[in-house]
């Protein structure tokens, strides 16, 4: 079933798995611009990599929750 979900998620997208990279990368770029240009933030290391290491695990967490809520609705319930 996981394979089905995976297949479906990217089946009808043009870039396929590229999207899974693009999501956190876009977030990283956006936050990088905000926190280096608009509100400089000192993290002790290049900001992009700081943001990315945060966003990557967060995305795992958030998308799991999002899909689990969706899957609970999608899978037909009998009883």
């Amino acid at each position: 079933m996981a394979r089905r979900d995976l297949l479906l998620r990217y089946k009808q997208t043009l870039m396929g798995f590229g999207w899974s990279i693009l999501m956190p990368v876009t977030n990283m770029i956006v936050f990088s611009i905000i926190f280096t240009r608009v509100v400089p933030l000192h993290t002790g290391m290049p900001y992009p990599i700081f943001a990315y290491t945060g966003l990557l695990p967060w995305n795992l967490f958030a998308s799991s929750l999002r899909f689990s809520v969706a899957s609970a609705h999608r899978q037909p319930r009998r009883s």
Binding site: M1, L60, S68
Partner: protein, 411 residues
């Protein structure tokens, strides 16, 4: 071939697995970034799997909890959920370091279990430090509590009725004194649906109808006994009599409120045949999907693929299956046929695309040969007679007090 037991708990885990693929792909990008910024690789990277395990377990716990909520509430939860996730993200040190927030908000972030987890990722990958002991301990305790609590919550459904394993009895399948209770009225999936029906509740119910929300018995203590090795058994009755309920109970798609059903041999369900097919997959992929759900091995499916297609009739299996309910029925029937040695399953024609669908009558017929028992379920009486099945309703249903009438068929 074994029937696949499908615990509900794997849904959230399957979902995490999917997200984890993204995570893995994203990690490659992270490695690239680290090279670009000349971040040295620390030995603490060895602890990364530990952090990942803690993270995944915590995610699984929360995901279980959430899907439990989602199934018990309205669909609106989904949208509320987006907001919660967004707020949670900004409450976690995803895009800023913990050191930036001081005082009371720092204490808050200690309570947020995602903060130590994400910090642990950073210290292990970037700083070359082990996650602090308080972070580790706190993280693990919270993770455990979350997992146990959600597991319990997921299982707090009332379980009544017992499933008995199929054993080798001499006579046919029977259900002795099964009771099934339903709640009257629609299931509300969203608040939008709830409001109009809430208004309708104030109106007098349609003549003789029951008011929504009231519980009623679809089946009440009816002893249904198939004759020893019947050739065929027809279950007939007007709408709402409980025909499908009987079949679903027999196939164990539902649990009886009281009583139990016993099946000797195997049963293959043709109830709601469209189930588990996905409209976005091609017909070919759906054949494989359905087959693997039913416990066929990939090689088996591949070997029998042509038979399945041939049986399905319309030669359009390579196209999208979305519109072709008819094909689905045929394929499913074939798949069932191939793997069920003796006892045929139940065919619910309504579930298989309504009375307009012309195929099921033919699709069902072959199963009656070779001495196989057959259980046909039809909304029309005539075809049952035409197949040489004498149908004799017992306790003819009357109006709304209709009960399921069961007819045993002459061999």
């Amino acid at each position: 071939m074994t029937k696949v037991y499908f615990p509900r708990e794997i849904f959230p885990f399957a979902v995490i697995l999917v997200s984890f693929v993204d995570f893995a792909v994203g990690s490659v990008v992270l490695a690239g970034l680290m090279l670009w910024y000349h971040i040295p690789v620390h030995w603490t990277l060895l602890f990364l799997p530990v952090v990942i395990v803690v993270h995944v377990v915590f995610t699984a716990g929360v995901a279980l909890r959430c899907s439990r909520w989602a199934t018990s509430f309205y669909r609106d939860v989904k949208y509320l959920f987006e907001i919660v996730i967004m707020l949670w993200m900004f409450g976690t040190s995803v895009v800023y370091p913990v050191s930036r927030v001081g005082g009371s908000s720092a204490r808050c972030s200690v309570l947020n279990p995602m903060t130590p987890i994400i910090d642990a990722y950073r210290s292990v990958v970037l700083h070359g430090e082990l996650p602090g002991p308080r972070v580790r301990l706190g993280g693990r305790v919270l993770v455990r509590v979350a997992l146990i609590a959600s597991w319990l919550a997921f299982h707090q459904r009332p379980s009544s009725g017992s499933r008995s394993a199929s054993d080798g009895g001499a006579d046919g399948s029977r259900s002795r004194g099964i009771w099934k209770k339903f709640r009257r009225g629609e299931r509300h999936d969203s608040l939008r649906d709830l409001i109009p029906s809430d208004g309708a509740r104030d109106l007098p119910p349609p003549s003789g109808g029951r008011s929504p929300g009231e519980e009623f018995w679809a089946l009440r203590g009816r002893v249904v006994r198939g004759r020893p090795r019947p050739d065929a058994l027809g279950i007939i009755g007007p709408n709402g009599a409980g025909k499908s309920t009987v079949l679903k109970l027999l196939c164990r798609l539902m649990r009886p409120t009281r009583g139990q059903t016993r099946v000797d041999g195997r049963i293959g369900a043709l109830i709601e045949v469209g189930g588990s097919f996905h409209p976005d997959l091609t017909g070919r992929e759906n054949v494989f999907l359905k087959g693997s759900i039913m416990g066929m091995k990939q090689a088996d499916i591949a070997r029998r693929f042509d038979e399945i297609v041939e049986f399905a009739g319309p030669r359009r299996v390579h196209r999208h299956a979305g519109q072709a309910l008819l094909e689905r029925h045929g394929r499913a029937a074939r798949l069932l046929d191939r793997r069920t040695p003796r006892r045929r399953g139940a065919a619910d024609r309504r579930g298989a695309g309504g009375g307009r669908c012309g195929v099921p009558a033919q699709g069902v017929r072959p199963h009656g040969r070779n001495g196989r028992a057959r259980r046909a379920h039809d909304h029309r009486l005539a075809p049952a007679r035409a197949r040489g099945v004498a149908v004799q309703p017992r306790d003819p249903p009357q109006g709304r007090e209709a009960r399921c009438a069961v007819a045993t068929a002459a061999a």
